[in-house]
Symmetry: C2
Subunit: 352 residues, 2 copies
């Protein structure tokens, strides 16, 4: 465990930039006194804000740049205009040069993933990185991946994601052997994709020390918390995430309308205010903000672009934990275990 966790912040990322990033970092520092920050961005906008947070100022240094990636830049544009010089690139660069342990950005996902992939590269044996998020469930929290880093997944990529997701879940959920399920559909006739089936077969036949494969799960198992780690390819994963967000907002809308439709309901609302506050907190997307890029030589955290300082602090927090509990080492160990299994049992090693 490193004594210090060094965190590089893309101060210009997100819908708001420094006014969210700086207070967010200050908030995170309060509960994480071992954090140190490299704050990358426009010094003229960062310094005045930093003046309000002396503790953060003492734990930070600023790396100035004028260049910022816009939220609607395409990845190719972002690379053309922002490679080597944007706040996003330089935050990742700090990780690359081992000046930081983790980079956190609320900037646009496509650009961040493109830059992280080009600059940090994928870990040996991992072909494609994935984006994993913490999903609140009825049982607590689960890790769900991939949420859109790539479309489609072959058998090997699904197995790799199961390993990487387990490593992340060990840190987040403090479980030594997280349960893992492959997302599939329940309609008998079609029985799911070939790749999902063969990844499931491999995981069943090759038990690993830190991964407890339990089989297929369906969409409604995510919210139930049936498994600690849900693995799927990025198209379906992204649609599942967005659909769940949409459904939560929809029910919130119904609830609000229902609670204001009569005097009785409004009185009831007043009595139950505490309960509604608890409910709102449960459903608060800020609490689980922070997508983790998995499979790269470095830890990169994506915060929601529209989040506030509390949400950004949550993303910094996740980055902190991933570094402190050595995510990359845990993933590497899993990959070694997998290689050993594949070598010991060549019969089951027919991975496409």
């Amino acid at each position: 465990m490193p004594t210090k966790v060094r965190i590089a912040l893309d101060a210009m990322g997100g819908d708001h930039g420094p006014p969210v990033v700086i207070p967010g970092a200050a908030l995170a520092l309060r509960s994480r006194p071992h954090a140190e920050f490299i704050i990358v961005g426009d010094r003229a906008r960062i310094e005045p804000l930093l003046a309000g947070y002396p503790d953060l100022r003492n734990a930070s240094r600023i790396v100035h740049t004028d260049v910022a990636i816009r939220m609607d830049d395409k990845p190719s544009q972002a690379l053309r205009s922002g490679r080597w010089k944007s706040s996003m690139w330089l935050a990742i660069d700090a990780v690359k040069r081992n000046e930081a342990d983790v980079a956190v950005s609320a900037g646009n996902t496509g650009a961040l993933m493109a830059m992280a992939k080009i600059h940090l590269k994928t870990m040996a044996r991992i072909e494609r990185p994935a984006i994993a998020a913490i999903w609140p469930t009825l049982r607590g929290e689960s890790v769900v991946l991939d949420l859109g880093a790539s479309i489609g997944a072959d058998t090997q990529h699904l197995i790799d994601m199961a390993l990487m997701g387990s490593a992340m879940a060990r840190i987040l959920l403090h479980i030594d052997r997280p349960t893992v399920g492959l997302l599939n559909i329940g309609v008998e006739e079609v029985k799911g994709l070939d790749e999902v089936r063969s990844a499931g077969q491999w995981l069943r036949e090759n038990p690993l020390p830190h991964l407890d494969y339990t089989g297929f799960v369906e969409g409604d198992d995510i919210g139930k918390g049936t498994v600690d780690v849900v693995v799927t390819e990025g198209f379906a994963g992204n649609i599942a995430l967005k659909t769940a967000e949409g459904t939560a907002r929809q029910i919130g809308g119904y609830l609000k309308a229902a609670m204001s439709r009569s005097l009785m309901a409004r009185i009831g609302y007043l009595f139950a205010r505490g309960a509604f506050r608890a409910l709102a907190e449960k459903m608060d997307p800020r609490r689980s903000n922070g997508g983790v890029f998995l499979g790269l030589n470095g830890v990169v955290i994506k915060s929601h672009g529209g989040t506030d300082s509390e949400g950004f602090a949550a993303a910094v927090d996740i980055g902190y934990e991933m570094v402190r509990d050595e995510l990359l080492t845990k993933i590497s160990q899993m990959l070694v275990h997998q290689d050993q299994e594949a070598a010991v049992r060549p019969a089951a090693g027919a991975i496409s």
Copy 2:
């Protein structure tokens, strides 16, 4: 519009069989006096129930069979054991022989789709059927397809689903030109599947009389009701549906826990009971029960297996409307329009 709508019921389908199907049909008949029923299944179990509903008995005839498809039968098993003789097959067969206009079953989806495909066959020019459902949204209701009839979709299948979904939405939503969106993911770097992009291009370049293509939508647009018809391939569609169901149950669980956590909250709950009842009704999956099989030479409705009589009545109701408003004719007209467009504009006709 036919004077009568003739409905074939698989009385043995679902978790409960006749005790749900018979009262469900009776309920549907009350609001649909022009319905006539062919009730297929075990006469010894159907007749005693029917005795309690004289109106339904007068509007029905029973077709007896001993054979029923089990909820966990695989489609291949179901075909082996139930072709020509099961209640599910015979309900579809009534449609095939033009003795009924629509078949409704709460039996297992895979078996029902397999039998419907084999016996009714797909409409000319349609390669694969789809399952469409009514999705409650903040704006009202939308049609979402495919929910799992097949995995993956090429450009032509996506276009066909847009046409078929629009025809269904015209009937359900009473709109002459429903808005249609293709479900995609928003991560810029990956920009969605090639097939989704080229289907979008075709729909944009070939305006059709009863379909207003508005572009890509994301998962959270479904609950918002951004478009009247959401089109996607079956794997992602099934996962979206199940994820939304799981999220709704999850929030219901949070709400229940929040409302019983303190005396104040319980008092508030008592005052707001009416509002909670309204909310529960909004979220009631029975209200929108009834998956419509699209693309077949006949109308087949799939009810949830676990539904009660009220939910089964809703499924019968949807079948009734689809027949009364001539779903199949509307789909055929759309296909003719599409062919004309494709012929007029060969440049845009490069459909894979």
